[in-house]
């Protein structure tokens, strides 16, 4: 099966995160888990961080990149960095993004650029594992 280096998956719950990690681990592929757009406003950085930590567990053998979407609120982005999140998305003017990127770099974190690349959204999925398996298998 071809390796999928950049096949991000939007997860909304712990079960979805676990399903995605399980499939990726079975396939031996790295995986990028992304929160819903703007989820920082209602989900909270700590909840997202804990969700990812529980989904991956201490013995996870694959690289899991967790991306927290902070919408257009720089305050939420800074809060996410304070909570130790390492990759965040923020929609803001270039000057603001540069400042946050600088702060992020000082904490070993980084900003992910907005792209139009396809993403799998597991919202209300009946069978997230099957969807993730297909999704990761479609990588180039």
């Amino acid at each position: 099966m071809p390796v999928a280096p950049d096949r991000p998956i939007i997860i909304h719950s712990l079960d979805e995160a676990k399903a995605a990690v399980t499939v990726a681990a079975n396939l031996g592929l790295p995986i990028t888990l992304r929160s819903a757009p703007g989820a920082a406003a209602y989900l909270g950085a700590q909840v997202f961080r804990d969700m990812i930590a529980e989904a991956t567990g201490p013995d996870c053998a694959i690289t899991v990149t967790a991306v927290f979407d902070c919408g257009d609120d720089p305050g939420l982005a800074l809060g996410a960095l304070r909570h130790g999140l390492k990759v965040i998305r923020i929609n803001a003017p270039a000057e603001t993004i540069d400042r946050i990127a600088d702060i992020a770099a000082q904490t070993g974190a980084r900003l992910e650029k907005e792209t139009d690349a396809p993403v799998l959204d597991l919202l209300e999925s009946d069978d997230p594992q099957a969807q993730v398996r297909i999704w990761l298998g479609q990588g180039d």
Binding site: H12, S13, L14, D15, E16, A36, P37, G38, A39, A41, Y42, L43, G44, Q46, V47, M51, G71, D72, N91, P118, V119, L120, D121, L122, L123, E124, S125, D126, Q131, W135
Partner: protein, 211 residues
């Protein structure tokens, strides 16, 4: 054809932080008219659902917006929700009605089935929900409903119809035109690029344009 304006039926995000969500919900409800809020948490514990219901109930009641519990008549009754929404695999209509009482709201998911809709209406459901109308770009919905079921329903039936499934400000016009009484929206509000409050506002602008 229904002449009453369509209204927004807001469903909570699948996961949320109870410490911050009440303020976010308040801002969303202040963005414009919302007919009801449904508490639907995927995979949450009963305690988590209870805590969230208790946290958001005042936000809803302060604004005169009914709070509907998803799937769980028992928790709806326990937490004092205004109603309960049940699916075809959840509690029975009778159990739901018993839990929330005659004055409570009972809504029933009917997928794309006219038969299920009629059955629910005859039992006394306060609304029936049809969908999913719009699968997300990468996901196949459990069932695929056609817009004409809303036209058919609104011409024949008095019980309100809720349209659900992948609805956004971009794609909702056909559902409004077809006679949906309510649009049930999740990510179309919470993931809206301009934020939830402006999403609620934008939905209401579309509703005000009429059918």
């Amino acid at each position: 054809m229904d002449t009453e304006p369509c209204r927004l039926y807001l469903i909570t995000p699948p996961s949320l932080d109870t410490a911050v969500f009440p303020d976010v919900l308040a801002a969303a409800l202040d963005g414009g008219d919302v007919a009801a809020v449904q508490l639907r948490l995927k995979n949450a514990t009963d305690d988590g659902i209870r805590r969230t219901a208790e946290a958001i109930a005042p936000v809803c009641s302060d604004r005169g917006v009914p709070l509907i519990m998803n799937d769980r008549p028992d928790l709806a009754a326990e937490t004092g929700c205004d109603g309960v929404h049940i699916g075809q695999q959840d509690a029975s209509y009778a159990d739901a009605r018993r839990a929330v009482g005659e004055q409570g709201i009972v809504g029933v998911t009917c997928h794309e089935s006219r038969h299920l809709g009629i059955e629910a209406a005859e039992q006394g459901a306060d609304y029936v929900a049809f969908g999913a109308f719009f699968p997300t770009a990468t996901k196949q919905a459990r069932t695929a409903a056609e817009v004409d079921i809303l036209e058919w329903w609104s011409e024949l039936m008095v019980v309100p119809a809720v349209a659900i499934g992948g609805i956004t400000t971009e794609n909702c016009r056909p559902l409004i035109r077809a006679g949906a009484d309510f649009l049930a929206v999740v990510s179309g509000v919470w993931d809206h690029p301009k934020g939830p409050a402006l999403a609620v506002r934008d939905f209401n602008v579309l509703f005000a344009e009429g059918r």
